[in-house]
Amino acid sequence: MLLISCPWCGVERPEIEFRYGGEAHIDRPAQPADLDDHQWAEFLYMRSNPKGLLAERWRHVHGCGRFFNAVRHTVSDRFVCVYKTGEKCPDLEALAREGAQ
C-alpha cells in the first residue's frame, strides 16, 4: 500500500484514504463546441501512459476531500512530489534526470 502526502493537509496517509483521478493537466476545453470530433476524442480518451514519471490527479477523499496533483513513477510507484491543483506541472524531464542521479 502506498503512502501519499496530501499537500492541503500536509500529512502523509495510507493509500486507502485517497482516490486516483487519472492524468493531470488535461484541461477541459473552454468551448467544447469549437473542437472537431478528432480534437474532442483526443481530449476525452488520449492519455500519455508513460513508463516513467507521470503527473496525475489524486483526491484525499477520506480526508479533506480536495483534489491535488502528484508526480509518480509508474514503474516503481515512487512519489516524487505532490502539489495543489492550480499549481504548475513540474518539469518532469528535469525530475527524471535528478532521479537518475
Binding site: 500500500m1 502506498l2 503512502l3 482516490r19 483521478g21 484541461d27 477541459r28 468551448q31 467544447p32 463546441a33 473542437l35 470530433d37 474532442w40 476524442a41 476525452l44 490527479r57 483526491r59 477523499v61 476531500g65 480536495r66 483534489f67 516503481s76 510507484d77 491543483t85 492550480g86
Partner: protein, 1005 residues
Amino acid sequence: MTQQNRTPEGGRIDRGTPVTFTFDGKRYQGFAGDTLASALLANDVHLVGRSFKYHRPRGIVTAGSEEPNALVGVARSRAKHAGGEATPNLRATQVEIHEGLAAESQNRWPSLAFDIGAVNDKLSPLFVAGFYYKTFMWPKSFWNRVYEPFIRAAAGLGKAPTKPDTDTYANTYAHCDVLVAGGGPAGLAAALAAARSGARVILADEQAEFGGSLLHERGAEIEGKPAADWVTDALGELGNNPRVTLLPRTTVFGYFNQNFLALAERVTDHLAEPDPALPRERMWQVRAKEVVLATGAIERPLVFPENDRPGVMMAEAGRIYANRYGVVPGKAIAVATACDSAWRAAFDIAEAGGTIAVIADLRAEPPAALVERAGSLGIPVETSCAVTGVIGKTRVKRVLLGRISDAGVLSAGEVEADCLLMSGGWTPNVSLHSQARGKLDWQADAGAFLPGDPVQAQRSAGSCRGIDGLAEVLADGARAGVAAATAAGHAGEAPSFAATGGDAGGGWWLGAVPHDRDAARVRAFVDFQNDVTAKDVKLAVREGMHSIEHIKRYTTTGMATDQGRLSNMNALSIASGALGNEIPQVGLTTFRQPYTPVTFGTLATTSRGDLFDPVRKTPIHDWAAEQGAAFEDVGLWKRAWYFPKGDEDMHDAVARECRTVRESVGIFDATTLGKIEIVGPDAAEFLNRIYTNPWTKLGVGKLRYGLMLNEAGFIMDDGVVGRLADDRFHVTTTTGGAPRVLAHMEDYLQTEWSDLNVWLTSTTEQWAVIAVQGPKAREAIAPLVDDIDLSGDAFPHMSLREGHVMGGVPCRLFRMSFTGEAGYEINVPPSRARAVWEAVWANVEKLGGCAYGTEAMHVLRAEKGYIIVGQETDGTVTPDDVGMSWAIGKKKPDFVGKRSLARPDLVAEGRKQMVGLLTKDGKTLLEEGAQVTVERSPARGTSALGHVTSSYQSPAAGRPIALAMIAGGRDRIGETLHVPMPNGGIAVEVVQPVFVDPEGSRLNA
C-alpha cells in the same frame, strides 16, 4: 518399538515431555519440541503423501517451509471440539506436535500404502508437459462431463473444509524503524545492531525458535560460546529491549509498496489447550522505515532418476533432524552431493551414532580435508560419482552409483541404504527481495541469482545474498542492521561478533545429473510437488516454449506452494541447456506474494459474517421488519423488498401492493436516495453545467427531473432537483449513485470551475424520505401537515414546500411521482422519521392503503416507462436512446457530455433505443437480459438487436410487460420480434414504452 530413529541424547527436544499424536489414525510418540516431520522420522515414517499428478509415494524432503511433499491435514484439539474440520495442506516440517494432534496424509485413496490413483504413474505418457493443454482440449462438450471432474478428482492437494471456520483470527497494524525478516545468524546480528542503535525493531521468523542454522550448528562458537547459547543471550538482550518486538512463528509473506509488509503469526496452532481468547493466527500489517532481509539460502535437490522416492532427503535436512531433533533418519544413510556442506551432514550424523553407507561426490576432487575426515570416521567415499537411481518404491532400499568419466557414465554398483541425503548446493532465498521489485544479478561463478539494487528501502544480509561463513554472515548482518537503523534516523556502530566454525564450504551443481539408465524409462524430478520431470522441461522447449515464463506454465514447474524455491534453478538450468542459451538470458520467473500459503481466515481476519461489510439501515427499517417485510441489499443498504401478508408469496404481495397504490394509496421508504445540498450564488450555473437540463429559470419551490451525463455523453445518474431559494438546491440521486455523483460534482467544481462560488454537502443521512403515492395520497398526509397548502392549485405536481408536520417537525415536502400516481415525498429529520411514518401509516391503513417495497416500486415505474439508471442504461446509453431528448437544455452552450452527444457514433442511425415489449401470447414473462432477434430461431452467430432490460408481471396492464433496448427500436414499433430461449423463441410485439396512463393525467389528480 517407538522412536527407533531417535538418538540416545542431544537435540533441542524435551525428552522429559513425551507427546502422543496420530498420523492416518495410527498412534505415535514424539517429544515436545518436535515437528510432525521430525516425530514421524523418529518413528522411521518417511512415506507421508502421494504426489499431485502421478500419485507417486512421497516422503519428507526438507526440514523447512519449502517442503514440497509432506503436506498433511491437521485437526487440532481446539478446532475439533468446536466442530471444525482438519486444516489441509500444512507442511509437516512446520507443524509442531502437541498432545492429541491428529494428522492425515493427502492425495491418496483408499490408503496411503495402496492408492488407486497411482495408476496415473503407469499412464504417465498421458501426463507429459502441457498435458492439460493437449489432453483436455476437444471436444468442447467433454469439458463439463469428463475433463473437469477428472481434473478436480485427480488434482489432489488437500480437501477444502466444507463447514465454516470455527477459529478466530486477529489483525494488527504496526510501525517500526527496522523490520528484520529472518532470525538466523544474519537476522539476529542485524536486529542486535539496529536495536543497539536505538531503532524500533521487529524481528520475525517463520520457525518456532529463533536462531535458524545456529540451532543445528555443532561445534560453531560465537563470542566464545556455543552458537545456540549465543542465540539465547541475543534473544535475552532483544527481549529486554522495549523497542524490540520478537515475532516467532511469523512469516513475512508479502512485501508491498513503500515498505508495507504483511506477516502471518501462528499464535495457537502449536498448543494443545490454547486460551480460547487467543486467535488462531494474527495478521500483522507493518509499515517499516527500513527492512533487512535475512532469509538465508535453500539447499537444492539433485535431479537424478527416482530422486522422489521416500527416504531421499536434502542433506541439510538430515543434519537438522540429527542435530536439532535427535533423529537419524535411517539405518544406513547414503549421501549424494556436489558440495562440501553435505559432507558436514554426513559427519554430524556419523558422530550422532548414524551409519553413513557412502558419500558419492560428483566432483573429481572434493577438498582433501573432507576426504581425510571421512576416512577417520570410517565413511566410504566415491568421487566423480553420481547417484543414477534408487531401488525401492515406498522407501529407498538401494542406491545405484555411476562413475562419471570421459566415456560417459559407467555403472559403479549399488549400495544398501534406507535413506539418501542429497545436495546440489545452495540457492540464495531472494523471494522477498524479488517481491519488493528488486532486480536479481546472475553470478556465474556461484551458479546463483543474487539480490541486485533494491528499489525499496531494504537490504539483504547473509546467505540470502550469497555470503558464506558464519563470521562473515554475522558481520554482514550487523552491518545491514546499523545501516538500516542509520537510514531510519538513528546512529550506531556495527558490533563485531567473533565466530568459528559453521562454514558451508564450496561446490554446486545445477540441472540434471548424468546417468547410464534408459532415458525413456526413468524419471528424474525437478519439481516434486507438481510432478515435473527433467524430460518435461526439455519437451516444453522442444514444443516451442522458449521463455521461462512459458515453460513454467506449460510444465507447471515452480507453480507449487514453494513457488519453485527448490526447483527453479534446476529447471532453469535444464531449460537453458535445451535452448542452448545462457541462464540469465532465459530468465527467472517472478516471486510473488504470499511467500508461503496463508490461510483465508488470516487474510479475512474479522471481516466475516456480520462484520464482512457495513450495513446501512433507514429509520423505518425496524418498522418494516416488524411488519414482516422481506429485504433486499442495494449497495450497503437494506431495503424493504415487499410486505407479504398471510401466506402470500412474493408475486402475490407485489401484485397487491401495485394494485393498492393505483387504487388508493401506498407508503414507501425512499430514505436511501442520495441527497446533496448545493448552495451558493453560482448554484444554478453549476447545475446548468452538470445536468443536461436548464436550471436558471426553475422557480423557487419548483422541482425538475435532472439527467446527468459523463463527459463521454452517456447517462450516469438521474434524480429530482428542487429549488429552495435562488442560491440553494436540494438534489437527489439514485441510491447507489450518491457517492459517485458527489465525487463527480466535486471533481468539476474543484478542478475545472474553481471560479464558481458553490458548496456541495452530502445530506443523504440528514433526511429520511417517506413517499406516499396514489389517488388518496393527499388524504393520507393532509391531517399531519401543519402549514402547507396541499390544494392542487397551491401545490401542483413537481413542486416543493418547506414547512412542518405533526406539530413542528421540520419538513421538505415534495409533490412528485415515481409511480405515475399523484404523490408526495416527505423529507423529515431521521430522528423523527419513525414517528411521522407511523402517523402517515395510520392514515394510509384507514384509507385501505398499504406499505410497498422496492419490487412494487420497480413494477410501478416500469408500467410508466420510467428508466432506472443501471437497469435500462449500462454506461453506453445516451438521453436520446431512452427517449429523453426532452431533458436536454437545447439553448445551453455547454454541459458535461454535451459535445460528446454530437460525436458520429452517438448520432448514428441504428443505435439501441428503449421500447416496450409485449409477449404475443399475453402470458409469458420474459427474462431480463434475454436477447432480442428478428428470427424466431436465428442462425448461429446472428447478432442480437438488443436485450430485455426490465420485465414484470403488470397488475395494471393485466399481463407481463417488458422494457428493452433495441437497435432502431422506435422505428420498429408495431413489429414482431423474437426472444430466443432454450425452449424456443418467444414472439414479442414492439410497443411504446408506456403501459399505464400515457397522458399523465393521474399525476395531476
